[in-house]
């Protein structure tokens, strides 16, 4: 399990390559038949408005703890071999990755379901807050929509 908070841009596919070959393949060779991944990327629009940039605030310390709790709960429910969560904070521009959630499992049902569950739990519980820069000024995003 690995949880990382980055205050500068990260490259999700390159990080996946490194984590899988360096950790998952070393610790579980021949066992990880299925990996499911979600990557959230900053859009240049939201609720009908053009978005120029975004500030992502978080609660250092609690963020990591809550993400680890979310992974722990997923492990009780599905058979998982490893998990990787990376989340950006700070000043973002459109097209920059915001979040990566990856899980490795023997079987695809566990991988798919756990990945989506972790992502939804992150959206509703991990202490991050987005402030969008619009032409008219800045606004806090008020609420995440349900993803199911």
């Amino acid at each position: 399990m690995k949880v990382e908070i980055h205050d500068t841009p990260f490259q999700p596919w390159e990080r996946l390559q490194r984590y899988e070959s360096g950790v998952v393949a070393q610790q579980h060779p021949g066992k990880y038949g299925a990996s499911a991944v979600f990557v959230g990327t900053m859009r240049d629009f939201n609720e009908g408005d053009e978005v120029k940039g975004m500030t992502l605030e978080h609660y250092p310390g609690m963020t990591e703890k809550e993400l680890e709790r979310i992974i722990g709960e997923a492990r009780e429910r599905w058979q998982l071999l490893d998990e990787l969560i990376i989340h950006r904070v700070g000043e973002l521009l459109p097209n920059e990755p915001i979040v990566l959630v990856a899980v490795w499992s023997a079987h695809r049902k566990d991988a798919f379901e756990a990945c989506r569950h972790i992502m939804e739990a992150l959206k509703s519980r991990a202490p991050f807050w987005k402030k969008e820069q619009l032409d008219q000024g800045a606004r806090w995003v008020e609420k995440n929509t349900d993803g199911y």
Partner: protein, 97 residues
């Protein structure tokens, strides 16, 4: 909103005046902007809930329904008792991911 700890205690602490404890308060995001600060150390009567801490720290305003509460970096009910040295955080609905 948070003035000197002493002045605040005199005005709002609803519990025992002789036994006090110290808790660390944190605000985030829009709540931080509304409160005008990202937190403070406050003294409060020894038997107090997270909601009591909010009441004290906010200058007597009721805890808004949608404000989330965490004690020592774990979500909790506003009615949960807090202990001396606890970190009590208040923040709006989270919007990460």
């Amino acid at each position: 909103m948070i003035g000197s700890r002493h002045a605040w205690r005199k005005l709002h602490a609803p519990f025992s005046e002789d036994k006090l404890m110290t808790v660390k308060v944190k605000f985030f995001a829009s709540l931080k902007e509304q409160m005008g600060c990202d937190g403070a150390t406050v003294e409060i009567g020894e038997v107090a809930t997270a909601a009591d801490v909010w009441l004290a720290a906010s200058g007597g305003k009721a805890l808004p329904n949608n404000v989330l509460v965490a004690v020592n970096m774990e979500y909790c009910d506003p009615n949960q008792q807090v202990n001396s040295g606890d970190e009590v955080a208040f923040f709006p609905p989270v919007t990460g991911g």
